[in-house]
Symmetry: C2
Amino acid sequence: MFKKVTIIGVGLIGGSIGMALKREELAKLVCGVGRRRSSINKALRAGAIDTGTLRLETGIKGADLIIIATPVSTIKQYLLKIARTHETPCIITDAGSTKKDIVSLAQNALPAGLKFVGAHPLAGSEKRGPEHSCAGLFKNSITILTKTSKTDASSLKKVRRMWEAVGAKCRIMAPAEHDKIVAAISHLPHIVACTLVNSAEGASLGFAAGGFKDTTRIASSDPAMWRDIILTNRKSILSALKKFERSLRKMTAPDSDRLLAELKKAKRKRDEIN
Amino acid sequence: MFKKVTIIGVGLIGGSIGMALKREELAKLVCGVGRRRSSINKALRAGAIDTGTLRLETGIKGADLIIIATPVSTIKQYLLKIARTHETPCIITDAGSTKKDIVSLAQNALPAGLKFVGAHPLAGSEKRGPEHSCAGLFKNSITILTKTSKTDASSLKKVRRMWEAVGAKCRIMAPAEHDKIVAAISHLPHIVACTLVNSAEGASLGFAAGGFKDTTRIASSDPAMWRDIILTNRKSILSALKKFERSLRKMTAPDSDRLLAELKKAKRKRDEIN
């Protein structure tokens, strides 16, 4: 499907994409670009990439697909660097958790030959680093791809086929719609999980059982990555937060019938997800 | 350890206690009292009880230990019934998720020969019913036992030995302290999980991945049971909610450094739980 795929950022997501591409034989060469030699070495040992480099220019030379799998703010920095230095036509995609910011920057900054398709695989873990990569990470997961009036149709198709080949189902939507959805099902839950941990006293945490552990598991995720996500999707998160607070007031009002109705509604909606 | 243990309420918790008592041979006879013949039959089939009845008086006759393992409001009803009709001295304990309400009612209502020890096993699941019972449910879990100036020391010791024999570690504290702890690590997280589900639009829920599923798993729990819990521990929950809201404001302020500090604090505290 591709001659050379370059993955910038060989952490959990980048490493897993590399492994999956290699397992499905979707690229003749998978090249990793990292900022630390140790990450590149780990990714090489894990079999996530065929070759690796710390130099962006070397890494993306000759690539027909560039995948930027770094935290959101770094994705933007890489897009700007690539826009300044890279001329060979190719497809660029990403794996960032917010899309409006990134897609709009890509559309403004990249020259015509560099076709950007925003992507967000809804898969991951609270673990990080290429040593936790796994080729099956995207199996039965959803990857959201963004489409705007400026999206190149054939590039979108290729990126879609790539994600489907590694096991993901693709949904295509506008960047703003993506950001609204993930604010409700990922970003706000993350904030809430962290807040539950932070607001509980240390002495109480010693009594944490299965329920608390599950509810707050994601609070163990990488802080810097999440700061970026929260800051770049602030508007959608605040709007999801408003709905959350309205709903919270219904559950904490001294009204037994209303409380039961809310608990029943939550059970019904949650059971449907399984 | 006991001649006859009667478990009132043969759901997940009651059934699991029965199984564990039988496995550890802590009682010559384990009798279940239920409100539906079908639950009794399920508990018998699961091997959770030796004998079962729908009649409270028959069930508790000759018991040296009575364990009330029903939702909180029903525990109170059973305590009042037992106080009115039962005269043979015995130990009574429970498995209710709140303690102040229950312990204070028991101390006021029960005659001198009936010694009450409040208990709350911090174990469970979003599943319900004796068919999900398991003798190992309490292994490595914590059971909180309550102690007040009116608690009978030798009864507390016996109940403690029973819980330790089925694999739980016991912590002894005042009912109010218990209620404060579980408000922070169980009741508020439950409310928050339900609120995350209720405030998310149906269309967004289709994109729920591992993080959302974990964070909201407990929203699938029994609504009526949780209404009771929330209503009987309202004061402690509202106080935990205040701390939650203060902490939430720190995380949603437009301050990158503060946000990062909060995310790091949450990760550090959460990592310590594992």
